[in-house]
Amino acid sequence: MSATWTVDGVREALASKKVSARELASDFYKRIDERNAELNAYLTLSEDRAYAQADRMDALVAAGKPLPSLAGVPIAIKDVISTRGVRTTCGSKILEHYVPPFDATAVERLQAAGAVILGKTNCDEFAMGSSNENSAYGAVRNPEATDRVPGGSSGGSAAAVAAGLAVASLGTDTGGSIRQPGSFCGIPAMMGSYGRVSRYGLIAFASSLDRIGPFATTARDLAAIMGLIAGRDANDSTSTTAPVPDYRALLDKPVKGLRIGIPKEYFAEGMDGDVRKKIEAGIELLKKLGCELREIHMAHTDYAIATYYIIATAEASSNLARYDGVRYGLRVDDDSLLAMYRKTRGAGFGAEVKRRIVLGTYVLSAGYYDAYYLKGQKVRALIAQDFRDAFSKVDVIVTPTSPIPPFKLGEKTNDPLQMYLADIYTVTGSLAGVPGISVPCGKIGGKLPVGLQIFGPAFGEATVLQLAHAFEQAGGASV
């Protein structure tokens, strides 16, 4: 069987009866069986659900009925996204045995389109981390270099696709958690505009930043999945009614003459020299494609990390108040209710989650609210304005996805602030609410993947996908 499947490849193989959906699912489970002990990308497999769906697709083939767009496509779901009847832990001990009674809207839409959900992928606890080392169930290894991290927080979703253990996957991005692991594992990865994809069923970390989006092996597959999961959902009041363009149909639109902004601030000190060389080669390729490059300024870039870690932790401290040992998850008993809360939360959360709850509680507490949280919200407005100003002059913005290549497991775990600082290029777009993609942009020494990030204006997903596709077709992955 083909080593690298795509969405269209699977549908065609099914329709021409070269393979059945059941055989395909079984083949993927075999691969998972072979690789997962080493990679730790999957936390839970959902065989019953997967085979039931595969059989439904095979019945459609047998009856000669039309196949839905993701018919039989094996997909992995990050473990912070609710899946009916399939354990969803958020990478946390506090939800070790939690089984959601409903599907997230994004999952429901993939299921309705015929996708076969293979299982749930490992991630940093409650999506808090940049290396996947904060999972209560162990770190994930980068399939491209197994002594290194896959990035985070959606490390399992990225590693699963990169290792061929799923055709595509869903991750979530709050400050870079889709784009950075996409970059580290050498695959395309996309975050849509805030409001583009419903968050219903996404277990909340920071509600004004969290977004669900896809990993795949091609920009075309990203477009296919984004087109399905995007769009208004009555269960998420922040999902917009803005129409969803046919991203796949628009994919081949020429990029010649596209105005690309290169923000000077993203190429300042702090970027690894090898990453810089690859990104510069990527930008050369964009020039060859006929894009028009312009240097731009985004004056508040340097303040993005500080702003992000105020807003994200403040929202997290509030969202994670729900884990109290009463309605679901772990409970550590005590005769007093308040002591039960404290013990449950103290025992159930890992070190990074507690660190962020403490920080978030502090920045929201009486006497500090104005100095930290309110100040953060004001600087967030300035960062969003930087993006709006830029998009009045250019069509897209191109930057590195991460200042550093995938690092070694354990290399950065002792210094949380250094880990936070590595999110510098991704958190800006998170704060501004704009869409972003990371596309493979060569490998350092032929081994360590580098990602090129493309930002578009709010609801400019189609343009971002076009450029990602053109870059990929022009050989961007091997610059």
Partner: protein, 93 residues
């Protein structure tokens, strides 16, 4: 630090308190760089989407929909007594 842990209902060990004290200090010091910026007159960004993007999206029709998941949800509880969640004594005599 102890006060914050209390506000967040988090039991932290002495070792954790010590570690977080140092790390949070370092992070707060880093965050204080925001004070370099004059934000007088800047409206805080309290939501991401502009009004015109949400105006028709925020309210759905007020129609009751049965969801029938109470039994399933109660099964997840650490100490259920259907149709209730049971908790330790709240009011001491």
């Amino acid at each position: 630090m102890e006060r914050v842990a209390e506000l967040a209902y988090l039991d932290l060990s002495e070792a954790e308190l010590e570690m977080y004290r140092t790390q949070i200090d370092e992070i707060l010091e880093y965050i204080s760089k925001l004070n370099e910026l004059d934000t007088t007159g800047v409206q805080p960004m309290a939501q991401v989407l502009a009004d015109e993007q949400t105006a028709d999206a925020t309210l759905r029709d007020d129609v009751a929909v049965r969801c029938d998941v109470a039994a399933e949800i109660l099964k997840q509880a650490p100490d259920p007594e259907p149709p209730y969640f049971r908790v330790p004594k709240v009011i001491e005599r």
